[in-house]
Symmetry: C2
Subunit: 378 residues, 2 copies
Amino acid sequence: MSFRFSVRTQDSVTSARTGELILPHGIVQTPVFMPVGTLGTVKAMSPEELENIGFDIILGNTYHLYLRPGDELIKNAGGLHSFVNWNGNMLTDSGGFQVMSLQKFRKITEDGIEFQSHIDGSSHLFSPERVMEIEHNLGADIIMVLDECAPYPCTKRYAKESADMSLRWAERCKIKHEQLGGEQSLFGIVQGSIYDDLREENAKELISIDFPGFAIGGLAVGENKEDMLRIVNLMDRVLPKEKPRYLMGVGTPLDLLENIERGVDMFDCVMPTRHARNGQAFTRDGRLTVRNGNYKEDFRPIQDDCSCYACRNFSRAYIRHLINVKEILGVRLTTLHNLTFYNTLIKEIREAINNNSFSEYKNNFIERYTRSDEGNIR
Amino acid sequence: MSFRFSVRTQDSVTSARTGELILPHGIVQTPVFMPVGTLGTVKAMSPEELENIGFDIILGNTYHLYLRPGDELIKNAGGLHSFVNWNGNMLTDSGGFQVMSLQKFRKITEDGIEFQSHIDGSSHLFSPERVMEIEHNLGADIIMVLDECAPYPCTKRYAKESADMSLRWAERCKIKHEQLGGEQSLFGIVQGSIYDDLREENAKELISIDFPGFAIGGLAVGENKEDMLRIVNLMDRVLPKEKPRYLMGVGTPLDLLENIERGVDMFDCVMPTRHARNGQAFTRDGRLTVRNGNYKEDFRPIQDDCSCYACRNFSRAYIRHLINVKEILGVRLTTLHNLTFYNTLIKEIREAINNNSFSEYKNNFIERYTRSDEGNIR
């Protein structure tokens, strides 16, 4: 078995924990933040840069890669790792979320999700079996079951029917996955919207199917933070301690802290890369909209004590100029900085947990991060 | 004096020569190709990447930098080198060519060039004196006189009047430049369109004003190759052997070979970077349109024997995919490759001249480069 997870340190006060995830392409220290490489590239970065920052697992989006360049082509290239030249670990989602968020025309039945390509309008079916074939062609180390990410808000009835169907899909995925064989690990995804009883029921059923890891899906889709944190608290209670928990699509630096406190081990989010393209940089003092006029003649780095290439070599004024005139280097530098910020944060959190000072670290971080005026969206 | 040029090896058959240009930011081996960093960044590249490729001089465009972020801001940042974090040498053009090519509304008088910003329509005047102030604020190692780049085609009368005015501007530039002082070196620019007698007269006058280096301007603007090469031959005869010759805005790999043969020492061109953004890669076998369908499942590198990061790590199929889905990494990789190609070519040319085998090198290069079908635009 090329998958093993072990908890290293359990925080004495909260559910925060560090652990080690052993995967075919190396060891991943948890909690871990995984940058998103939708189309086989973490936008604006080279794999060398990601490795230098210290990432050892990145995401790919099945939906996007299936459409372009196609999973068969990637299989012929020797798989996704080889195609994109990434020697670390990879995780692919199932495409379910992407279909929901990108498609106007889709039809969900027990069979799966019928949809039209957002590129050429062609028709496609993502059944649980088909998605397993695609994810096996891509060859990521961790792959995800097909699920329906229920819209928010949705009625309890819709949420239940959707979560039940996702559960049946999860079973079908597991069967197909085992038929296909190989070294990839298939994670289940808990659904049930913001309804506690549905979530608990769904999680228990999923646990009984048995997966090496569990994702919490259907959050960060518009619900308020209390709902998110309550569901994660519940999951912390229900999901097995000895298996990794992955909170999909989350989130801000503060989200990371709050959810790590609630026992989450894995995160992915487009936030650091997307904000970077929008000229927003994460700093210890909150978010900095580097394209703002304030920074026109500000010759300090984005963040004084940051060790990234951007902060070691360039000023806010220069990066602002680059972003304003739409030069690629601007986006490269903000992306590099934001990803460095996220990876530094998660590394420091791991150290704090190992030193039994997680709550202190969290409080200090939040105190400074929320002190300034600009960091109003956390 | 922080400028010195010496010819190292003079080819025994042609006018090709190698030399050394000593500038405030280090030694430049000639012939040299200078990548264009219009807005203070060679598009898609970091200064570290340019240095790793081996470039030791890059361009900035005065017109663009004057408008955004402004030469005063750059001066406050400690000059262009410091602002963009480039430790090698820099050259700025005078903005004359940019005004001609980018402006619909401009008025040329003896005073200088009045124009409206292509960004906000505001009115500006580039007089020879003003341009010297701006180029001094930017602080490049080599700066260029303000000239009018006559359109092609133009009447002989227009060409003469224009070249004569450019000459008077050159004198005014030199006076202002000397008043302003400092370590920068001011190059003159020969004009005269494709009229041999005008060119010769213009060059001689410019020589008598006395500049440490001479550029050949007003070529690569639509004239045919024979005209270009004839003018460069003429310049080779007229311009002093002991001073560097800079052919502005040129060109293709074959242009470099032909003009080095005719005694040119310095080149700049957007071609490697611009074609890269368009999905075209330079190879020893001609240009390769990597976004073409042919390369969909071509898992070979762009060029087998290339040592650049793109060719060492990625396939044509992957780069094609990136370019097709408009991912920044695609443009980064083709740009890195094309600039590596240009710098490798010019380095090999220098070695060939030093080994007295320039003509052999040139013939072999052209034979292979033009053999394949795809390299039809050289």
